[in-house]
Subunit: 279 residues, 2 copies
């Protein structure tokens, strides 16, 4: 269904800045993800955003789940035009979700967009998954760059139906474009994999305490040498609709405002009493 | 100087749980990094920790700078014994810093350690770098697992002298082992690349606002096709010794307490007034 072609060679900058933004009153929306440009979820999200703005899709050329806020330092990036259903869909980047946002901001777009959306991710990005997620990281990178940003995730690993996610994404994107977000703030949205009529409502939540219970599977390769697979399950640790994972598991859409400052302010005064010296 | 050998094949578990913890009153310390097991900084840190505890080194088998909280999902991990100076040094993992901590906790160590230290990183992990850093991510992963954790970084990209970093790491690790850290809290420590007598002191800081000013360099490969290098500089955005990057640039050791909850609590009430509906 999808076909990759290399951007035509030019004297400079391939075809970037890609399309100069048209004179338009429509908002400019950058669409990213971590499942890769060929994933189903980003197609739904791009279509939904195209109904309310001028979109540019910049996404990884391969799946990048679990890449968190990783960026590519040791090797250069390739940026290629990507086609779906025989039509130009967007730009594929040979890197991580964060690389995509950086490439979009530094190279592809002529000016910062009005909104960055990321997803729709295949799988939950609640609780501790917020740290692991490349989908959330792309939105975080937007917030760092001062652009309002939203990450969308559909909480399932099987039989995903992205149709309601796309509809809600359009609704929330319009709200954010109208109301704005405080500097350095992004939203992460997690949706249950249910048809619209079964969804109970929308709740504003905090990052919950659910964590992975993990183990390493040991296997032997064809030469008798061991290798290890990490596997686990996300164990619910909360019991309130104020918590993201609990809300989704109980049929609600969860919307969580995040920032990228990790300072534990409550501990600063205590550690100052330690009177740390040079030695 | 360093030599990698594959762990001997056994019926199960290679040599893990590695060495059963000895009956000892010494604290058990897990040592990780993101520059790779062969980096100079981890050797200094391991030596310093060995003076106060029983150490196990588990680190990536290749440099992993900028990998943030990435973990390996799509392929299995290899774990191999690693030698330095003809002596067993630790376990090399074919993955990210977070993979190393997970492998240590799930496979290599017989029980959780008393402390996880990460570093000494080559380069600053202040301000927004906290998000990008694999060094900090390893310590964060420790905090997620409920183990007190400290990340150490030497703020230079040239002529690194790790000797004072190692000395200070020993001092702070002893303090943390004695005082403990609140659940879910880690410390990130940034040190100026100065000899001890030139260091002005130790300050407890918050994550500052400094950010990268970035650009993408475009080059053409041997076939005339474009590729892109991201480059940039961290621009100081603060003017107080309460901020990590400012403190380090002014000759102080910076100690910042972090947590892994990114909820922007101050925005929750506002967004609740948006009255988000199912559509």
């Amino acid at each position: 269904m999808a076909k990759q072609t290399r951007a035509p060679k030019k004297k400079s900058n391939a075809e970037f800045p890609a399309e100069k933004f048209h004179k338009t009153s429509k908002p400019r929306i950058l669409v990213c993800n971590d499942d890769g440009i060929d994933a189903e979820g980003i197609e739904f999200l791009a279509k939904a955003m195209a109904q309310i703005g001028e979109i540019t899709v910049v996404a990884p050329n391969s799946p990048q789940s679990g890449m968190s806020h990783a960026m590519t330092l040791g090797k250069p990036l390739r940026i290629t035009k990507w086609y779906k259903h025989k039509k130009f869909f967007g730009y594929a980047v040979s890197g991580t979700p964060v690389d995509c946002v950086k490439a979009a901001m530094a190279q592809i777009l002529p000016e910062p967009p009005d909104l960055i959306v990321s997803g729709v991710n295949y799988g939950s990005n609640t609780a501790i998954n917020i740290l692991y997620s490349g989908t959330v990281a792309a939105a975080l990178e937007g917030a760092i760059a001062g652009v309002p940003a939203i990450a969308f995730s559909l909480c399932t690993y099987a039989n995903a139906d992205f149709s309601y996610s796309a509809k809600f994404a359009k609704h929330l994107a319009q709200k954010v474009l109208k109301e704005g977000l405080p500097t350095g703030t992004l939203l992460t949205v997690n949706l249950p994999n249910l048809p619209e009529e079964k969804i109970k409502g929308v709740v504003v939540t905090k990052q919950g305490n659910s964590k992975w219970k993990e183990e390493m599977l040991e296997r032997n390769d064809a030469y008798g040498q061991p290798y290890y697979w990490l596997r686990g399950e996300l164990v619910l640790q909360d019991d309130s609709l104020d918590d993201d994972e609990y809300a989704v598991r109980h049929g609600y859409v969860s919307v969580t405002p995040l920032s990228f400052n990790l300072t534990n302010h409550s501990f600063i005064d205590t550690i100052r009493t330690w009177n740390l010296k040079k030695r």
